[in-house]
Subunit: 208 residues, 4 copies
DNA sequence: ATATAAACGAGACGGTACGTCCCGTCTTTCG
DNA sequence: CGAAAGACGGGACGTACCGTCTCGTTTATAT
């Protein structure tokens, strides 16, 4: 920490250090002032780096934001013991915790405004969202193996029925989000909302 | 004397025509070139309006975008006949249809980047998302009244388990979205994903 | 009969109070913040008057400035007793005093930037400069009558040789201006700068 | 070779070509449309230059105007042979010629409205007025050396008695200006306006 | 007395220009 | 050489005023 101040050193080598400084500066700005205040010019100034050095690595501020947000791993994927349902709930809780922060909101916004098809956008989505979702996928497969979930279920849809509501509430902001939501969602998804002991009042539509 | 009539403010009233032209121009630009190309300057030029006239009514480009997107009603809330489940599916389909367009994506993005607490942002959320969701709320209440849904269910959570996955997929883009998703989600939500007989004595649903 | 009639227009007469308020506000702004800060909008606000009321009377800010500066008479044209030279000096001193103030500078600037041929500009020049100069004209004529000035002299040129240097120094600012300048100029103009007892025609060697 | 080593600042040097284009455009606008139509925006457009490039070099339109007017030397200071008086007259004629043009008027106006104490304003005054006046100074010193002018004379005052009337007439516009004014002024200044052979002050007090 | 007409304050209108910020590119110097 | 510094042409920002145009409200004649 003490030697961080004297990065001057009068030397040439800076190539890797410069990129790290850029990412750090970008993260700092996003954290303290928000995504909207992130500009290449400011990042360059705060990182003590020339603008071309940034453009050499990222095409625009958006890509830089994605790269910076990808720096720190999103989530440790807590998965303590317990039943399949309990493990899934614990995982969802950690997702909730991660995304209900300022950084989580920035990730959501960055994701929303990303050029959908760019390589970096895919990597970003994969790293910050889908990696976590993939962990959930594994948990559901375990649950099926344990006989806790019907093997015929559409796993992708089930996953989105768990993750979707979280992001939906964070995005739209119509309802507060806390960790109890994890339990509510998992319970509902497992048991459904039909009255107990009742089938559907019409034959389940097996064809679409 | 009796001058109680003048609730009217002094000065020339704001031109409703100018404001409409601004909103139309904004909508046109967003539709044809995307939210990113929306600038006050362009809108002013294309609407044949001075910039201050725009700033007199909206604080920045973001607010203008929200106002423009609010212009046209989002959805007609189709609700044909049929069972509660069927009506809910039909409604979700129309939501899917609306939001899987270019305009739907712009709405999502605008929503994501909105200043959460501003008056206009609340109005925007309310009009473009929550109004539709409120319709879903009514459908679920009907379903409960018809005995098709357990009265103890957390209706808000159930609604978000239906809308959330749609926006989640649109936002993250990990899976394509089509209208069949409506059926899948409703079925899953109603029956749950547990193996048959665990929470109800209903016969196992026919697998696909 | 002959009841004075049709010259008077119908309708509400122009408010003399409003016009005075406008001129006062304009003078105040010019005095405290300078000519450059004079804007119709500010004057209207400070005078508690609508902009059209100003435009009804003056075509633009420049004309308003001239009118406002003309409000107060420029100078009382002091002319105490004494010889013709002394009276001229006294007059010049009062001119110097008047124009070496902030208001004098604003007058100079307003004069410089005026549309030369407009009616108001002529009136302005006439009132703030030429009226004073006309007084000087009278003094020189008196001096001629007294035998103190050669009757063949070009009075206009002589006047400008007295007034010109004052404005020149104020405008260019290359030398400070104080009241002693009046005496210096008058003395020089009366006696000339040639060596005593000499009146021209001895061509010195013309080498460069 | 005298290669300046570290005095040189880092970074891309300012484009001398761009600055020249700006000055040329400014001069063109002032010449064809007048000082009042000079705006940074137009200059930028006509010079094919970004606005910040202009602001990087000049603080506002006024400074740019001064710089542009300084571009071309004001006067060649004609000084043909002849007596001291004749040389002075010739010089004044060239001053008259220079300043009775459109450009001369713009210079006068720019001078009048300049922030008196700014560095550039001083340079401007020095270059466009005082340099010429300094030439006149030299001519008067020569005249003194030749015995054509009384050595006790206040040279500064004498100079202003020559230049002042010219600018006074140009500024106020009460009398036309032509080259004959040079002769009139020089003659009057040299000989004075008192009756010939008279250098005393004995005022025969006539009536008031 | 009652119209009628003009001027009033207020303030929005279409515009122009301001001076600033940032974009993404380029040019130069230095280690 | 690579990387800092920083100027470049450009575009948009949000603000200040411009001079014009409604508004609804006085205030005077002219009917």
């Amino acid at each position: 920490m003490a030697k961080e101040k004297s990065t001057r050193k009068a030397g040439r080598p800076r190539s890797q250090a410069a990129q790290q400084a850029v990412l750090d500066a970008a993260n700092k700005i996003m954290l303290t002032e928000g995504l909207g205040r992130l500009s290449i010019e400011r990042v360059a100034a705060e990182a003590g780096v020339g603008k071309p050095t940034i453009y050499r690595n990222w095409a625009n501020a958006h890509e830089l934001a994605m790269a910076a947000l990808m720096q720190e791993p999103v989530d440790p994927f807590r998965s303590p013991g317990g039943s399949a349902k309990q493990r899934l709930q614990a995982h969802l809780k950690s997702v909730l915790k991660t995304f209900s922060t300022s950084r989580g909101r920035q990730i959501t916004l960055t994701l929303a405004s990303a050029e959908q098809e760019s390589e970096l956008a895919k990597a970003f989505r994969n790293q910050v969202i889908l990696q976590s979702r993939a962990f959930g996928h594994k948990l559901i497969e375990q649950a099926i193996a344990e006989g806790a979930v019907n093997p015929a279920v559409d796993i992708e849809a089930a996953l989105d029925a768990l993750y979707g509501p979280i992001f939906f509430r964070l995005l739209v902001g119509h309802l507060q989000v806390d960790e109890s939501l994890a339990g509510t969602l998992v319970d509902m998804l497992f048991s459904g909302i039909e009255p107990s002991g009742k089938h559907s009042d019409s034959p389940p539509p097996t064809e679409q």
